[in-house]
Amino acid sequence: MELKGLFKYLYELLASTGLPQGWVDLIAMVALALVVFGFIALVVLYLVWWERKVSAHTQQRLGPMRTGWHGWYQTVADTIKLLQKEDIRPALVDRPVYFWSPVVIFVAAFMAYVVMPFGDGLIVADLNIGILYIVAITSFTIIGMLMAGWGSNNKYSLLGGMRSAAQVVSYEIPMVVSICSIVLFVGSLSMVDIVQSQAKIYQWFIFRLPFGPLAFIIYLIAGVAETNRTPFDLPEAEQELVSGFNTEYSGMKFSMFFLAEFINMFTVAAIAVTLFFGGWHGPVLPSWMWFIGKTLVLVFVIMWFRWTYPRLRVDHLMEFAWKFLIPVAFINLILAALMKYSGWFNW
């Protein structure tokens, strides 16, 4: 069931057709991009359904039940509906900015999957700056949100965009610092190296006390804040800002935002799995199953947060990031450095 061999076989099949090397590579690249895109679209469809189920059962409801077994193709129907919707463009929007912001957000969310190690050998490109690349590329989301907020020419959108910019910039720091402590231990930024350094279960960074769990908690909080999910969903706070930066969007463009939000959630969980939970490592089952399984569990935890915690106030949010998370993250980094230096727990 390892998919590594399958992709290699398909590539060799393509190469054996006698096309020039450049064409073979191009076709392989496009095909791979489509595969990743298809996978992500599938995951998002599943996650939306899963989110609705989790929220429903938390409130002792049932959620979607009518479309298929326990409503499993409800999101498919919703997506088709969204695609049919009229693409409304308000009269006074800043047209290019308004048009491109969903694209920027979506591409930023999608690009992170270039270096995502889905399984043993299942990685689009094992860049040697892997995790740095992810941190950098996901930051583009802020630009997209600001563009959406500004371009919409709407006070709620602008407030939402500004809030999200402030929030994401603030929470990026503890997130990166907590990632740094892992990178420090591994000695490499490559995603594959990070996963391979956790081959045994006791090597998982979550079990490397004391800095591992602390780094994970910081990462998780910051990650939830980065994806603008409750309790940090201030950019989209319904009661205050209608829907935040995506208020003026409808139809396809709105679904891009929606898609990007769920992709980002999956990304945060997947990176957490890569960094702290041994990535694709696990017994018996094929590696990609382990990776996706672990990620889905973490995604469930993030959803669980959403249906448990109320939203923070803006000043509390900033205070929490700057006065608490960042100092703790730096202390954690120093701790990790000391442990690395002393060789303690250095399996």
């Binding site: 989790v54 938390t58 409130q59 002792q60 409801r61 039940m65 669980w304 249906w307 448990t308």
Partner: protein
């Protein structure tokens, strides 16, 4: 530091609470496929009850339900036979104005009218919400009920005083009732007798007698 630990503890408690609810059985009833088991005494649509053996309507045309109805949803059509005995021609319940108060069921002494547990009678035109005798009888065919048990057959002394305030109708009420199943109140007879008002006892006899005796009129006015 203590504050921090306390805060973390509370966060975990919150997660546990929602987690518990996540695993708990859900309360949703998926309506068209699943339905509530309505309690026996719930007040749904009004139906007319028939005798289990003969299949005849229990109604004796005493008109109490019609007068008790605060919304005037009940209309009774009857004709007088010899000795003033009434026979039912039509019994109409207008479900568009029925307020489901259950007064008709409470006033009835012959287990002739009842609020069934059925609650689904939505239609697309108002006319079909006005139900006539046959329909009401049909709906009440399978509704379980208990026939009121008459303890004392001698009821005339009670019936007579009631005839005074409303000289015309209650007198008529008493007569057809007597031959069929001796009309007097069932259980609370001793309490009932000193009061002049009621011929008949409903589940709440005292209240009824107060309602009816002071102002000789049907209790619609009070509602």
């Amino acid at each position: 530091m203590i504050k921090l630990i306390d805060g973390i503890k509370n966060l975990v408690i919150g997660l546990m609470t929602t987690g518990k609810h996540l695993l708990r059985h859900n309360v949703t009833v998926q309506y068209p496929t699943q339905r509530w088991e309505m309690p026996e005494r719930s007040r749904g649509i009004v139906v007319l009850l028939s005798d289990k053996e003969t299949g005849e309507l229990n109604c004796t045309v005493c008109m109490l339900c019609m007068r008790a109805c605060p919304a005037s949803a009940i209309t009774i059509d009857f004709e007088k036979g010899e000795k003033g005995k009434r026979t039912l021609i039509d019994f109409t319940v207008d479900n568009t104005i029925c307020c489901f108060c259950g007064m008709c069921e409470e006033t009835c002494n012959f287990a002739a009218i009842k609020m069934a547990t059925m609650y689904e009678f939505a239609t697309e035109d108002k006319e079909s919400l006005i139900w006539h005798k046959d329909k009401l009888q049909e709906m009440g065919r399978d509704v379980p009920y208990e026939k009121p048990v008459r303890k004392k057959p001698a009821a005339k002394p009670v019936a007579k005083p009631a005839a005074k305030p409303a000289p015309d109708k209650p007198a008529d009420d008493a007569k057809p009732a007597a031959p069929v199943e001796t009309n007097p109140p069932q259980e609370k007879k001793p309490e009932e007798e000193p009061k002049p008002a009621e011929t008949t006892a409903a589940p709440e006899p005292e209240k009824k007698s107060e309602d009816q005796s002071p102002d000789e009129k049907p209790p619609e006015d009070q509602k």
